[in-house]
Subunit: 212 residues, 2 copies
Amino acid sequence: MNIALDEKKVSDAVIPRILHYLRVIQQLEKSDKMTISSEELSKIANVSAFQIRKDLANFGKFGQPGTGYDISNLKKYLLDIIGSKEMCNLGLVGVGNLGSALLNYKGFEEEGLKFVAAFDKDEGKVGKVCGNVIVEHSNNLKESIKKNDVHIGIIAVSVDNAQQVADKLIEAGIFSILNFAPVVISVPKEITLRDVDLSIELKALRYFSVNK
Amino acid sequence: MNIALDEKKVSDAVIPRILHYLRVIQQLEKSDKMTISSEELSKIANVSAFQIRKDLANFGKFGQPGTGYDISNLKKYLLDIIGSKEMCNLGLVGVGNLGSALLNYKGFEEEGLKFVAAFDKDEGKVGKVCGNVIVEHSNNLKESIKKNDVHIGIIAVSVDNAQQVADKLIEAGIFSILNFAPVVISVPKEITLRDVDLSIELKALRYFSVNK
């Protein structure tokens, strides 16, 4: 199968959905099913069949109208899109409640994601083991990020410190940032920033529950 | 200002973006700025100016082409869209690392979001205080969800238990669920389910960093 990514940039929203389809397909694989109709896939993934076809079409032709999807082929196709099976090194800044929970989460490694560094400015936390890493002082950030070959920087500090931490991560050579602080951070356009804003998720749910 | 929501359902993706614009505008409000051009707003929010106009257009006419946005009017407009200023009651299932971090997070209350109940099946956790709640046994879920008037159920249990917990929440009368377990849960169509899948966020970042 030849998956040629079009010259045009695929919209940022497509890739998380491709990963979501992969999650669905990997679950289906554990069942006895061999094929799945686009309607059924749409229902399980909670995404319209039109959207699924459109997303897949970004990466070339897949499937034939009316025949449904072959589960093992679709899995292979999605994995080819996502590419890289290499371990991805994560560095976290801010070892508070959320930061600790992330460092201790067992599920990342099997997904190819590994914490290799964690930082805090609180001397009381420096030197402590959290998950698989020893917490370092934030002053070491630049040096340690380079030494540990960190690919993705995770911001789990307070609102007031988030922009400054982002600046330091970028200065250390990081191009990809996941931000948990509920604040809008500004970054140069060559940096990819994604926000996980839990208040927004919850307020969106509240909106839907009221306006349904 | 008269914000009439069209008969047609607003796409599920619009509301989180509206909340994101509100976050940006509330930050801008703290500066001395009175107005903002659509290009500037687009740059700060990291969303195209076309998308912003299109999202706002779902809720009636706002702003005049070429004049930019009045910050305080836009804030009022966005707040009117989002509506409800009432406290929203949250119930959490699964008091592990992530669950505890959520219960202890101080930022939710100022956003109108309040934990009123938490559940775990581990007897060792039952009765402990976590944030503002006392952890109850999962066997009490149905009764406690009703008694405490929980609006949103949060799933922070393991992959293997997530579907069962979702079923129990729905049985208890919950219509809105935020799921942190990295698994695709199936729910009846009258239920609103949102997933926060951190592995997917991180893998999307990895994809973008490789394909940039």
